[in-house]
Symmetry: C2
Subunit: 432 residues, 2 copies
């Protein structure tokens, strides 16, 4: 790409959709990203920007001045503009806002009033609303005066004189009903409006549950303030699902796959440092049994197996519980059952694999005692691991700590400490 | 719940939507699940069934006979019926099909002809199609003859005489355009039809990229055979994102959070067995340096730290690469850049934390040599871990092995073996 002449690349880019250009930018290392951005047609810059993840976008915005930013954001939905502005430093945001037209600014500010991770932060303000006393014929004529309807419009919103939400009028209904009928007679009141301060993950759960395409957003007085469309919700679902995966490795779900070296190194350093602390704790546990290790070198050889099997068993439980929590399946009422299930499963597997390992250890070192010790230690560690895997995420959540982020480290600490302690402790007692 | 009388529970259930009932079933242990299912109103059983995950659903289907199944599936979309049938044994599926009405059977069979994980398996056949030569007025009158339009209808499909797909006619367009205009003049040909054999993950990527709500599905002759709606795609996105998380712990993304003990134990046994093999390999590596361990017991105390830090560093890289691959960001062209970035980041963090650890080890054991050995071993292992974390998933994919499933085990094997080998090997050479 670097070697191609700019003109050819520009021609190639002009044949791509904004979405494809965004994907290309996200899949490019930083330097190529900057070069590509300069070659993009000015007209689609805004749309491309809107498709990028927050982190990649802020890299590109960092190279622009206020005027360029305002130009780029023209023609974007208010929610997308708000989304972009929220990543900017306060000062730059104020500058960009004051450079916008008054109508645009008002729209964007109404979205900015809400936290980014709520329904209000997700919504756009492109709603078409009608009164319940109109006939469908009047509504049809009103719509025909529009050049086009806002994207993803599948329903109109029915509101009263005070702008309070009453229900939906699906376009499909409008098209299949006698035009002489009034809106009131066909309004769909099944869809509960979403309060603007509802967390976005809960909004996503509702959309997923009820297969909505658009849903109305209301303020505390039940006044219609905007609508949420499925395309923005899909991003929330994707990020929510990625959150568990990335957090378990101490990463952020928004992390740019192609972030530069220094940023990557800085972000990961903390996680490695935390892990070093827990590993030191495990080493300290081992050091308590220095005398025994000195006598029986086989213990040093076998001890990582006990810790590792506990870690794997625990992480299986942890992953199932974290996923279950993300799907909203786990609460106080079924946690007891879940723990006893995990306990049962852990006991069965502990018996199976500890005996296998006991036989191997006995044959390997020609020592029956070491077989018995490793069997006992593995059973203790696998059972502890399963209980820790089930309890830790729930306990962390109760303490308002993200279980996906802290659960893995906490679990490894438990399985390492219990693994080394039980194996070396039993050995010290047995050989002592 | 167990103690409540059936009637009260039944009344409570009748106030819930099918989606909420499905969520309740999924959040319940197996025995309560069976009790709840019996108390559900017959009318909503089909809808509830359709909302359940495959695994929970097949547990419930296992308790029904053919007649019950046919009754339950009445009124469901063809794609949902096909989805349910595909989980059944071949013999039962044939029985249920032959007990259905001829029209229903034909519809379901047209979906069943395609693999479950393709566009054809995702689609439903509820399309409304119109010819390009009609005026919008005729289309409007045609629509008004329908009682209602299929769910999530936001566009009509424009096809020629042979039933071949030409383009979309969005309902919004229909409502804002002069009725005297013909379909041909306003048809939207931007949306490329989806071939019925496209994998569902690629379908999901297209929907996510272009913010589609519905999209047409065509056969190899470009004939319209059905449509895919966003609600079915959201499930594919959710499952795809969960796949990486669950696979890294050796689990299936469809795994029932409340599966019974024995099924859970059986599924996890294999993964623990595989891990035991890799842990044994690591132990064998340690046993090669038995003599050195016998002489310097500090090595046994510190060796888990080297392995563990490598494991954490590697899993961070692995997770970023697996997520990048799932998002379609990583290919041959940028892999080289990614590897050098990971290498750079690994070197920086290796230098930082190995020196910290070296100082700690030196002070702890009052031995300068052990400080130098652990610094060198950690640098070697962290750098190897980063390279392995980047290369393994790409190599596994090239071998058609699921990187999310096999990547974690393969990585741990590398970091354990290299960690113990470098630390104990250097020590043997140094103290030897």
């Amino acid at each position: 790409l670097d070697s191609g002449t700019g003109r050819e690349v520009r021609r190639m880019l002009s044949t791509l959709t904004p979405q494809s250009i965004a994907q290309l930018l996200e899949s490019s290392p930083p330097r190529i990203r900057q070069v590509l951005w300069k070659l993009i047609d000015k007209d689609v810059e805004g749309e491309v920007l809107q498709e990028l993840t927050d982190e990649v976008r802020s890299q590109i915005l960092a190279t622009m001045d206020t005027e360029e930013m305002v130009a780029v954001m023209e023609g974007l939905d208010a929610d997308d503009v708000a989304d972009i502005l929220q990543d900017l430093p306060e000062r730059v945001m104020a500058e960009v806002l004051s450079a916008m037209s008054a109508t645009d600014r008002r729209r964007v500010e109404s979205v900015l009033a809400y936290d980014e991770e709520t329904a209000g932060g997700l919504m756009d303000t492109d709603t078409i609303s009608v009164r319940p006393n109109l006939t469908l014929d009047v509504v049809l004529r009103y719509l025909r005066r529009h050049e086009q309807l806002p994207e993803s419009t599948d329903s109109l919103f029915v509101v009263n004189r005070q702008g309070q939400y009453i229900g939906l009028l699906p376009l499909a209904k409008l098209l299949t009903t006698d035009p002489a009928v009034t809106v009131r007679e066909v309004v769909n009141t099944d869809v509960e409006p979403i309060p603007a301060d509802m967390p976005d993950t809960e909004v996503a759960r509702l959309f997923e549950k009820y297969d909505w395409i658009t849903a109305p957003v209301v303020d505390e007085n039940n006044r219609l303030v905007g609508r949420i469309t499925i395309d923005d919700v899909v991003d929330v679902i994707r990020e929510g699902a990625d959150h568990s995966l990335m957090s378990l490795a101490g990463l952020d779900e928004e992390e740019d796959t192609f972030a530069p070296v220094r940023r990557t190194a800085r972000r990961r350093a903390l996680w490695l440092g935390i892990n070093l602390l827990t590993a030191l704790l495990a080493s300290w546990v081992i050091s308590l049994f220095q005398g025994t290790l000195d006598k029986v070198v086989a213990l040093a050889i076998l001890m990582p197996i006990v810790a590792s099997m506990g870690g794997v068993a625990g992480s299986q439980t942890l992953t199932v519980v974290i996923r279950g929590m993300a799907l909203g399946q786990i609460g106080r009422s079924n946690l007891g059952w879940l723990m006893s299930r995990e306990l049962g499963s852990a006991i069965l597997n502990a018996l199976l694999w500890s005996v296998v390992m006991g036989v191997i250890a006995g044959l390997w070192f020609g020592d029956q005692r070491i077989a018995i010790i490793i069997i006992a230690a593995m059973v203790i560690n696998l059972v502890t691991a399963a209980l820790a895997g089930a309890v830790l995420p729930v306990a962390l959540r109760a303490m308002r700590i993200d279980p996906a982020l802290a659960g893995g480290v906490a679990l490894t600490t438990v399985t390492d400490v219990v693994g080394f302690m039980s194996f070396l402790g039993l050995a010290t007692w047995y050989y002592g």
